[in-house]
């Protein structure tokens, strides 16, 4: 098992810069989820760590060794691909054994490793089947098996769950988590699905347009997003991001709505800001309470466990989404008095950075 360090990684394809400078340290046995929307450079970053792409600048260090000039096969890593990349004409067994055979391992040892991995992944009776005769979930497990038998220092995952249907994805997510708990290997997992990232990651690395927006534990990223982008990306339904201007201890939003400045916010009067409130941090006002905002309901999603309400904070005012307890009955046209029950976030409108007074 090993530590991985990325120092000043930059990547450009021809004239087009794709990664603008990534620095990160991944501890031994840590599971880091690299999260971001399509095109943010996360897969490219993973491939640079794997050695399938060369960085334009910067260094990749695995277990203290600089591996920029080392072939993927010699970096002691294993990768699980998005489309599994199984050799179509080989059986599951051969798929898993192939890398070991090339390394000259003897038959008995290979058999040992493959059967052990197959047991861990519940692939028992499927080893003699070719990929064509395996379901999506089974193929994915064979792909993982191929990575496991290598007993690498670092596991790399390139959106391995994206091609599975919803129920299977949930299942596999849990399997993966259990696997990590039992194997304890350093893992780097790329995904665009924030639920996956939150479930699996010890830490999250949130990327956007080739830059790292935030690195931190899941709850940290959830609770104190460093930028407006991270704030809007994590959480479902997405955080409400409202444009406004700082004015006398509060933020003035469109339509005359005012929200008090959160404590600890560092923003001078007149600054353009973005105010963030999570939908789950809004609740109907209890009797006698004074509402923080009033919502004119336009659309209601009754989901059973929750009721998601969409509306406006008044004429000409910004739109807002609130996630309320499922038993509440809400109708369109209703005016809901809501209290803010969680932290309010403030971001600079131009840079997107969190506005907060230092500790």
């Amino acid at each position: 098992m090993a530590r991985v360090a990325l120092v000043g990684i930059r990547k450009a394809f021809g004239e087009v810069p794709v990664i603008h400078g990534v620095d990160c340290e991944i501890a031994d046995r840590e599971f880091v989820a690299v999260l971001g929307p399509s095109g943010c450079g996360k897969s490219t970053l993973l491939r640079i760590i794997a050695g399938l792409e060369r960085p334009t600048a910067g260094e990749v260090v695995i277990d203290g060794r600089r591996v920029n000039d080392v072939e993927p096969k010699d970096r002691n890593i294993a990768m699980v691909f998005q489309n599994y990349a199984l050799y179509p004409h080989m059986t599951a067994y051969d798929n898993m054994a192939y890398g070991l055979r090339i390394r000259g391992m003897d038959r008995a040892q290979i058999a040992g490793r493959v059967t052990r991995a197959a047991d861990t992944l519940a692939l028992g009776g499927l080893l003699l089947r070719t990929p064509r005769h395996l379901s999506g979930g089974q193929r994915q497990r064979v792909a993982m098996g191929r990575a496991i038998v290598r007993e690498p220092q670092v596991f790399l995952f390139d959106e391995p769950l994206s091609n599975l249907d919803a129920t299977l994805r949930v299942q596999m997510r849990i399997e993966l988590k259990k696997l990590h708990m039992s194997l304890g290997a350093t893992s780097i997992f790329v995904t665009h699905d924030q639920v996956e990232a939150m479930t699996l990651g010890d830490r999250l690395l949130v990327m956007h347009a080739g830059r790292v927006e935030q690195v931190g534990r899941p709850l940290e990223v959830y609770g104190r997003p460093a930028t407006a982008f991270v704030a809007g990306f994590i959480g479902s339904p997405a955080m409400n991001l409202l444009d406004g201007r700082v004015d006398a201890g509060a933020v003035a939003l469109a339509g005359g709505v005012r929200v008090a400045l959160p404590p600890g916010a560092a923003a001078e009067r007149g600054r353009s800001v973005v105010l963030g409130i999570r939908p789950e941090h809004l609740a109907p006002v209890t009797d006698g309470g004074r509402p923080d905002v009033t919502l004119a309901v336009e659309l209601v999603e009754a989901l059973g466990a929750d009721t998601v309400v969409h509306g406006r904070l008044g004429d000409g005012a910004p739109a807002l989404t609130a996630r309320l307890p499922g038993h509440l009955r809400v109708t369109t046209g209703q005016r809901l008095a809501l209290a803010i029950t969680g932290p309010v976030h403030l971001f600079d409108a131009a840079s997107g950075l969190r506005l907060e007074r230092g500790p």
Partner: protein, 298 residues
Amino acid sequence: MATVDALAARGAVGTPGRRRGRTDWLPHVVIWVGMLVTAFPLYLIFVASTLTPQEIAQAPMPLVPGDRLVENYSKALVTGATGRYLSPPVGRMMLNSLLMALVITFGKIVVSVLSAYAVVFFAFRLRMVFFWMIFITLMLPVEVRILPTYKVVSDLGLINSFTGLTLPLMASATATLLFRQFFLTIPDELVEAAKMDGAGPMRFFRDVVLPLSRTNIAALFVILFIYGWNQYLWPLLITTSNSMDTIVIGIKKMIGTGDALTDWHTVMATTMLAILPPVVVVVLMQRAFIRGLVETEK
């Protein structure tokens, strides 16, 4: 839609292609006519190959097979024609044809698959130059460069040699392009997984690319075998001794000027023998062949 097609296939639901009643017989009639026009001439050749020279000479020849099947074919195979042209035994000529066809086929496949692999999986400076070179050869059939090609072969001392017969025909643009097209469909991830597994390019070629190319190779085998077996102009120019004649050339020499002094029964037997191997190959590998043929040209 799948189910509608399936139902239509069983005739349960009418599709535009299948009409009830009046015009239902038309496709069948046309098909039978087609089969007849194709098969009847071949049938007549077969009949002629079983008759005596006298029966043939007396026009019109009978339309049912005669009783000389065994004699005619064994004579052709063992002794060859005894008319104006003393041919080597047809058996010998068939062997020549077989050897030539197989060597050309395997040679072309090997040469092409290697070239296509290089063009697709590597980046080297002359790559595009090479690719266009191959492309251009599509436009240069042998017939267009008859004399100079002959001269080159002659200068290399390869006239009347087996090498001279087969080597010049071993570079094939169509085979290379077909393999290239197929190789382009191999997913990038597969190559990367192989790299991570530690496979170098030739290992990847042997363990992954070749097995995946099996159907393409089968289809090409049929096409190239027929091409090789049916070669005419090139063997005509290159071989000077009768013993090297291929069966196709042999037939031509047997008929001389095609007059009645020809050993027609032997010629016909030889013709049947010349047709048999390629037809067998096509029929046996029909599906792979058709798929490959349509893929090659597109």
